[in-house]
Structure formats: structure tokens, C-alpha cells
């Protein structure tokens, strides 16, 4: 067990944990941030996508020890911050079961905030799987959000 500090959605957190534990389990079970979801546990599906210093990263295979002193962003932070992509997703009914959405929104919002084009954001989403087949609605929500960003 080691004491590890990192920033979670801008707030410093200190936890006592085995450093090899995947960040995902720490977020969900120790820090009660359950919006980040376990899909495959192998980094193949993207359901557990968070940001590490702004870079989309799968938390299921990211040891919490590597999060030390870094900025971790999750869907909870994106929602609390009122990111416009959230409203666009709801307006486009861009979801069915929603299991994949926190990971998709986290990746897309990070890339939108980094100034990426719609095309770049959507291309990056090949790292995330959606089984309900909502892709086109998600794409529409991203395009709308990017267009509004570029107008302002």
C-alpha cells in the first residue's frame, strides 16, 4: 500500500492503495466516481476512458501509481462543468443503454477542448465501442458542439 495524491476533476485527492491497482477500480470503489465503467478490462472497448493530463486514456489498464501528481478527468467532471457536448448528446438522443457513453463523451470532450476538428474527434472514437448502434447520433452531437465552439 502506498499513499498517492492526484487531482480528480481539479480537486486533490489522497488515497492509500496498491499502486498496481488499475485507476478504474480506485475511481469507482474508493472515490465513488462510478461513471467510468468497466467494459473489457483490456483497453479494447474504451468504456473506461478518462483523461490523464488531458489525454484520453483507458483507466482499466492504467495503474493508479502512474496517476501520482497528475490531473485525472472523468465524466463526472465533464458533467459538473456543463460541457456543451452533454446537452448536445441529450438533444440528439445520442444514446440507448448508455454504457459506452461516459467513455465516448470523455474522449470526445477532451479532443473538442483541445481544438480538434469534428473529423479528428470522430476518427479518434474508433477506440470506443458502442453496441446499440448510436454512432451517427453521437457524431451529430459532436459536429454540433464543434460548430458552436468554432463560432464563438
Amino acid at each position: 500500500m502506498s499513499g498517492i495524491d492526484f487531482r480528480l476533476n481539479g480537486v486533490v485527492v489522497s488515497i492509500l492503495v496498491t499502486p498496481a491497482t488499475p485507476l478504474l477500480f480506485v475511481l469507482r470503489n474508493q472515490l465513488d466516481h462510478k461513471g467510468t465503467r468497466l467494459g473489457c478490462g483490456e483497453g479494447n472497448c474504451g468504456a473506461c476512458t478518462v483523461t490523464v493530463d488531458g489525454v484520453p486514456t483507458t483507466a482499466c489498464n492504467f495503474p493508479v501509481g502512474s496517476a501520482k501528481s497528475r490531473d485525472i478527468g472523468t465524466i463526472e467532471g465533464i458533467k459538473a462543468g456543463g460541457h456543451p457536448l452533454i446537452a448536445a448528446m441529450i438533444a440528439h438522443q445520442a444514446g440507448q443503454c448508455g454504457y459506452c457513453l461516459p467513455g465516448i463523451v470523455t474522449r470526445a470532450a477532451a479532443l473538442i477542448d483541445h481544438g480538434k476538428t469534428s473529423r479528428e474527434v470522430i476518427a479518434a472514437l474508433d477506440a470506443n465501442l458502442c453496441r446499440c448502434g448510436v454512432h451517427r447520433r453521437i457524431i451529430a452531437a459532436i459536429q454540433e458542439t464543434v460548430a458552436k465552439r468554432d463560432q464563438s
Binding site: 496498491t18 491497482t21 488499475p22 477500480f25 469507482r28 470503489n29 465513488d32 466516481h33 462510478k34 461513471g35 465503467r37 468497466l38 467494459g39 473489457c40 478490462g41 483490456e42 479494447n44 472497448c45 468504456a47 465524466i75 463526472e76 458533467k79 452533454i86 448528446m89 441529450i90 438533444a91 438522443q93 444514446g95 440507448q96 443503454c97 448508455g98 454504457y99 459506452c100 457513453l101 461516459p102 463523451v105 470522430i122 476518427a123 472514437l125 474508433d126 470506443n128 465501442l129 458502442c130 453496441r131 446499440c132 448502434g133 448510436v134 454512432h135 451517427r136 447520433r137 453521437i138 457524431i139
Partner: protein, 691 residues
């Protein structure tokens, strides 16, 4: 008074109070046996109730699928939730409004017909009376039968049902704490089951589990529980890797090859008087491999024992059957068990959601603490029910003018339903590993016309005498059960490829050829409009277009799809145009979402997906072994609903998988000049098609 037929759920649960409760706080509690699997039924049911009661959709709290609270409607399957569950809610909500207005009229010494409702407030001649659902909630008796007094609004007066209200649950689904996966009970442990690699596998010696993790064992049912989830996971995987399983079971055939060589029994479902008509025979077959549900989240359940009483939270499609199945396997009185639906990952049929509920109950029993059980990705591919391999062989006979004058289908497939069936056939995976082991039942397809493997094998076209033969393979080396559309996916592809082939032989335009064999004006309309919406078909050596049509189950919604593909060394679907008639669409955008979701899944099934086997051994363990459509592969889609809102809702959730699959197959057929017979149409099978 109502002239509608009474839907079956309302016949079984006739009283208003079984469905609706009004609180003096102003909240309205809507109870339904239908569960929200991601398909949007919570929103649709809320809209229906809000419409009839003249309440905002925000006034409702829902309990869906709770064995102690909601009406035990049975399964949420078969694209029937709005058609049956929704119609029940409509009649109940209407009846509740009638009861409230009659009560208010007595108090106001007036007639009910001069009263109206605005956002829950009762008006007389358009003026507030001071009465409302809220103020009368405590004194109105809703223990009355709904059907005799129900008078739902005519479609033309609806303002909420029939509009694309935003999903009531979507924001919550995008965050923390909504899913059964997120539940946290005091003293709850995390559990992972260690799956025997096959039904016949045995072990001699168990490795010791390192504390603080603990082993739960009952026969060959093995699980590791721990307070810390990662500890449970690591220990379970370590034990699983170290157990020396040995398997003396029979060597099984490959599931697709077994379809040819291994037929157990055949059954004539439709016996044509004569098929020996016409002058020319056209035949083809379509073979579908074993498919996975592929939900992104593995199945999860939470179980808690309090003395002899068990509560299970599960994302089951049928809490009533799960409860009865658990009672049988656990050998306890059913009244001791409460099953509460809690949302999970997407559900497209009979997946492992019921299995993990038994796992959780066994783990909680063994551990003496509440347990959250979660399957792993690999478990989902290897041990969950899978959509069975299937072959459909169709034969048409044509007269001299090229018209089809008889039709025969031979469907070879395991049964498409082995759902938990309660006490007689619980069919929960772990039951076969326990000290008191129970073998899994064989399952059963619904009889025609609904059907299972044979669903939609009976054509929607007028083709003269029709014969349908259904055969089952003897040995099936995997668990097989219902996935979206059941046999309709393969059967519709076969029929639509046959129509395309016959049109070509007859020298006729394939759209007109279909219309020449169709009498139903609604069927004709979706085909004509989808064809028109897709514009000029600019086909070439590498660009193809195809049409697919079906009325799901020959009784639910009508769908016609046109697909455009581009071919290099793979097939890419670039566009799909769809016209559907589902009758009333309570939430049109939600209906389109379901239809388009089905299209995307179907394209994945046609082009990419296959559980790979070596002989009878399933080799699929991760997403690296099983491809589904990704963002860059999903086509543009244009989808239009043309159903009359005043018509009954026909059902929509599964209607597009057959037509979309058929449209892609026919587009491939157009480019390659030959009908694909073996799915998926990946590079390997395309090369075989060309050679």
C-alpha cells in the same frame, strides 16, 4: 367506453391501483412489468401516461420490473412493450382520469364532461376548481377495474404521445450511480465467478485462495469474493489459470459444419399441398455463424440474503421468470425472493443477465454478505447464451411469365430460446455445476406464426403454396438463445436474396417484381418510398445497391431498407435509406433510434461478426477476436416513419435487422453477380464467393 381490445397484461392485472398510485405530494407512481433495457420504454410509457392524465412527463416516478411492486407482465421481448405494455398503461391512465373527474364532479355537484385537466389541475369550463390529482389523491379509490371505464384520447388529440420527448433517463445513464454495476450495499463484497471451461469439465484439486479473498464453492460452481474488487478479480483469474481442468466430454463438431451433418429431427411447420408448380426452380441458401450479444458492459447483479429472504437486483428481461427460476435452483420458497430490475448494459436478447443473478445469490449465500457479481468480457464470449448458427435454404418455382407460384423454406437451426422458464426449466448457467446439479433444459421456439428459428421463414409475399420445414442439429457445442430478431435475420436475407434472384431470372426490375407479389398496401408503401428515397442507383464495378423488406413476424412493423456499398478488398456500407411503418410511434425519434441501432447491428452481423470455433471449441475471448462495427464503419442513415399515428403500435425494436441485412447482401450480390451464401461477408468469405 372503451372499444379497444383489452391487452393481455391488463387482463392479468385489471385494477388501476396495480399500475398507478397518486401521492398527495403530487407525484404519480407508474408501475410496469416492462423493463428499460436502453430501448426507451421508460420514456414511452411516461409519455403515454402523461398524455391520458394531462400531466407533464416530469410528474412521474417509475418502478419497472419489481416482483413486489409492478404488475408481473412477464418478459420484455419481441418488440411488444409498447404494443401490449404501453396499451395497458394507456387504458389504465385514461381510467384513472375518469375516476378522478367523476369524484371531482360529485364534489362540485356537476357532470364529469364539463371538467378537464391541465397539468394535473382539474378545471370546470376552463376555470380552476381548486381540485387536482394532488388534492384528491388521498380520497380517490383506484382499486377499480380500468378497462370498463377507460376512454383513451383519439390520436388526433394527443400532444405528448407521438412527439419526440427527450429520453427521461439519458443524462443519468451518462453518469455515476445509475446502473446495477454501481450499486453499493453496506458490507457488500465483490465477486467473480470462475467458469468451468465446458459443461463436462472437472477438476481434481483447487489451489488455495489467498486471504483476504475467499472462495465460494458449491460443487463445480466456484467464485472468489473480496471486499476489494481488484483483489477478487486478480484472485479469481489466478485460480482459474491454475486449476487443472480435465474434460472427458465428447468431441463436438463445428457449429456451422454441424448444421449439415447432424440433424436430429425435422418438423413440417407449413405443409404446402403442392410445390410442384411452375416451370423453373430457383434456390439458394444463407448461412449465419454463431454471434455474440456483445454488450459493452459485462453482466452484473447484486444479491443480499436477510435470513431466509433473498433480494436480487438484476438487469433481467423477465424478473418474474428469474424469481421462479432462482426459487427452483436454490430450493427455497418463491415468496422468500424479491427480484428488482436494475439497469445494466445494452440488452439485445437473452444474454447472461439472469445467469449472473444466480451467481450473485450463490456467492452471497456462501459468503454470508451481500455480493455484487460481475462477469468478465471473456465469460460473455465463452459462456453466455449466443445467437445460434443457422442455415436457411429457400426454393421458389416460377411460371412461364416469371411469377413465383410456390415457395419452400428449410430452416436448420438450434432453438432460438433457452430463456429461464421458472420451475420447470430454470436454465441459469450455474445450476448445472451445483452439488444438486440440474441439467439445462432444451428450450423451445415459440410455435408459428411467431416462431423462433423459423421466424419470418413464412414469406410476407403472396407466392402460392408455401412449405416450411424446420430441422434441429443433434449436437450444439454452445449455449444458444434469443438475439434480436431470432431467425428472422437469416430468413429475411434468404427470402430477399431469392426475390432478387427470381426478378433477375424473370428479367424484371426487382422493386417492381416484389410489388407484383405483394398485396398489403402498407408493405408496398414502405418499399416504394424506400426505393424512391434512395434516388438513382449509380451502380458500378465497385458500387452496389440492394433492397431488403420484411414485416417483422408478419405481424409487427413494416421495414424496407436500401443499402449502398463500396467494395475494395472489403465491403463498406456507405448509406442506408429506410422507410418503416410501425403504426403509432409514441416517440418517433426513439423509434428511429431503435430502427437505426438495429441496422448498425445487422451490418456488423453481415460483414464482420462471428464467434470462431475450432471443432466445437469456442476460441473467442476478447474484442480482438470479435469485431463489431466501429465509428468509421457506420453508414449515413436516413430513416422515415410513415405509419398512421391513429393505428395501433405494431412494435419496432427488432424490425430492421432482417431488411438491413438483406439490403447489404443484395448490394453485394449486385457487385459480385452472385448471391453470398456464407456470412459474415469478410475478406475470406468474399474470396470464397469469387472462386
Amino acid at each position: 367506453m372503451s372499444e379497444c381490445p383489452i391487452p393481455a397484461p391488463l387482463q392479468a392485472f385489471p385494477r388501476i391501483s396495480q399500475w398507478l398510485e397518486f401521492s398527495p405530494s403530487g407525484r404519480v407512481h407508474l408501475k410496469s412489468g416492462r423493463v428499460e433495457l436502453g430501448q426507451g420504454i421508460a420514456t414511452a410509457l411516461t409519455q403515454i401516461a402523461a398524455e391520458e392524465l394531462d400531466l407533464p412527463v416530469t410528474a412521474f416516478d417509475l418502478t419497472l420490473g419489481h416482483t413486489e411492486v409492478s404488475p408481473g407482465e412477464g418478459p420484455t421481448v419481441g418488440s411488444m412493450s409498447v404494443s401490449f405494455g404501453g396499451q395497458s398503461v394507456r387504458m389504465v391512465a385514461s381510467a384513472a382520469r375518469v375516476v378522478f373527474l367523476e369524484h371531482a364532479a360529485q364534489m362540485l355537484k356537476t357532470k364529469p364532461h364539463v371538467l378537464s385537466v391541465l397539468e394535473g389541475a382539474i378545471l370546470k369550463d376552463g376555470i380552476q376548481t381548486g381540485l387536482s390529482y394532488k388534492s384528491l389523491a388521498a380520497e380517490v379509490n383506484l382499486d377499480v377495474d380500468a378497462a370498463p371505464i377507460s376512454a383513451p384520447k383519439p390520436a388526433a388529440l394527443r400532444t405528448v404521445a407521438g412527439t419526440s420527448v427527450a429520453r427521461v433517463d439519458l443524462a443519468a445513464r451518462m453518469g455515476s450511480g445509475y446502473l446495477v454495476h454501481d450499486m453499493q450495499l453496506p458490507s457488500m463484497l465483490h465477486g467473480r465467478v470462475i467458469q468451468p471451461p465446458s459443461l463436462t469439465a472437472e477438476f481434481k484439486r483447487l489451489p488455495a485462495v489467498k486471504p483476504p479473498a475467499r472462495l465460494v464453492q458449491n460443487g463445480r460452481f466456484l467464485a472468489v469474493v473480496a471486499e476489494d474488487e481488484y483483489t477478487a478479480l486478480q484472485e479469481a483469474n489466478r485460480i482459474a489459470a491454475e486449476i487443472d481442468w480435465h474434460d472427458d466430454g465428447p468431441v463436438q463438431m463445428h457449429p456451422v459444419e454441424g448444421l449439415d451433418d447432424d440433424i436430429r429431427e425435422s418438423e413440417i411447420l407449413y405443409d404446402a399441398e403442392t410445390l410442384d408448380l411452375g416451370s423453373r426452380e430457383v434456390s439458394l441458401s444463407v448461412t449465419k455463424p454463431v454471434l455474440s450479444h456483445g454488450s459493452i458492459g459485462p453482466s452484473c447483479a447484486v444479491a443480499q440474503w436477510q435470513g431466509e429472504d433473498l433480494t436480487v437486483w438484476a438487469h433481467s428481461q423477465n424478473v418474474v421468470a428469474l424469481r421462479a427460476s432462482l426459487a427452483r435452483v436454490l430450493q427455497i420458497d418463491i415468496v422468500r425472493i424479491t427480484v428488482i430490475f436494475a439497469p445494466g448494459s445494452g440488452c439485445y436478447g437473452h444474454n447472461s443477465s439472469d445467469d449472473v443473478a444466480l451467481d450473485a445469490a450463490l456467492m452471497a449465500q456462501g459468503a454470508g454478505a451481500p455480493v455484487r457479481a460481475l462477469w468478465q468480457r471473456e465469460d460473455e464470449f465463452l459462456h453466455a447464451p449466443l445467437s445460434p448458427a443457422m442455415r436457411t435454404h429457400v426454393i421458389a418455382r416460377l411460371d412461364d411469365a416469371g411469377k413465383i407460384v410456390s415457395y419452400h423454406a428449410h430452416v436448420i437451426s438450434p432453438t432460438h430460446s433457452t430463456r429461464p422458464g421458472g420451475a420447470d426449466e430454470p436454465n441459469l448457467r450455474a445450476q448445472q455445476f451445483l452439488l444438486n446439479a440440474m441439467p439445462m433444459g432444451p428450450g423451445n421456439d415459440a410455435p408459428p406464426p411467431q416462431g423462433g428459428a423459423d421466424r419470418n421463414a413464412y414469406p410476407g409475399y403472396v407466392l402460392g403454396p408455401v412449405g416450411v420445414l424446420r430441422s434441429r442439429p443433434m449436437h450444439v457445442p454452445y449455449r444458444h438463445s434469443a438475439m434480436r430478431g431470432l431467425g428472422a435475420f437469416t430468413n429475411v436475407i434468404a427470402i430477399e436474396a431469392l426475390m432478387e434472384t427470381c426478378a433477375e431470372i424473370a428479367g424484371q426490375d426487382s422493386t417492381l417484381y416484389r410489388l407484383a407479389h405483394l398485396a398489403d398496401p402498407r408493405a408496398r408503401a414502405v418499399i416504394q418510398q424506400a426505393r424512391a428515397m434512395s434516388g438513382d442507383w449509380q451502380s458500378s464495378d465497385s458500387v452496389g445497391y440492394g433492397l431488403g423488406y420484411a414485416r417483422y413476424k408478419n405481424s409487427a412493423g413494416y421495414t424496407a431498407c436500401v443499402a449502398r456499398i463500396e467494395v475494395d478488398d472489403e465491403v463498406h456500407v456507405t448509406d442506408v435509406w429506410t422507410v418503416a411503418d410501425v403504426g403509432e410511434a409514441v416517440n418517433p425519434d426513439g423509434t428511429i433510434n431503435q430502427i437505426e441501432g438495429g441496422i448498425v447491428q445487422s451490418i456488423g452481423w453481415v460483414l464482420k461478426e462471428e464467434i470462431t470455433f475450432s471443432g466445437g471449441k469456442n476460441l473467442t475471448r476478447s474484442w480482438e477476436d470479435y469485431s463489431i462495427l466501429r465509428f468509421s464503419e457506420v453508414p449515413r442513415m436516413l430513416t422515415k416513419l410513415i405509419g398512421p399515428q391513429e393505428d395501433v403500435p405494431l412494435g419496432a425494436g427488432e424490425i430492421s435487422v432482417g431488411p438491413a441485412g438483406a439490403a447489404v447482401v443484395n448490394a453485394v450480390r449486385q457487385v459480385f453477380g452472385v448471391t453470398p451464401t456464407r456470412l459474415p461477408l469478410n475478406r475470406h468469405n468474399l474470396m470464397s464467393l469469387l472462386s
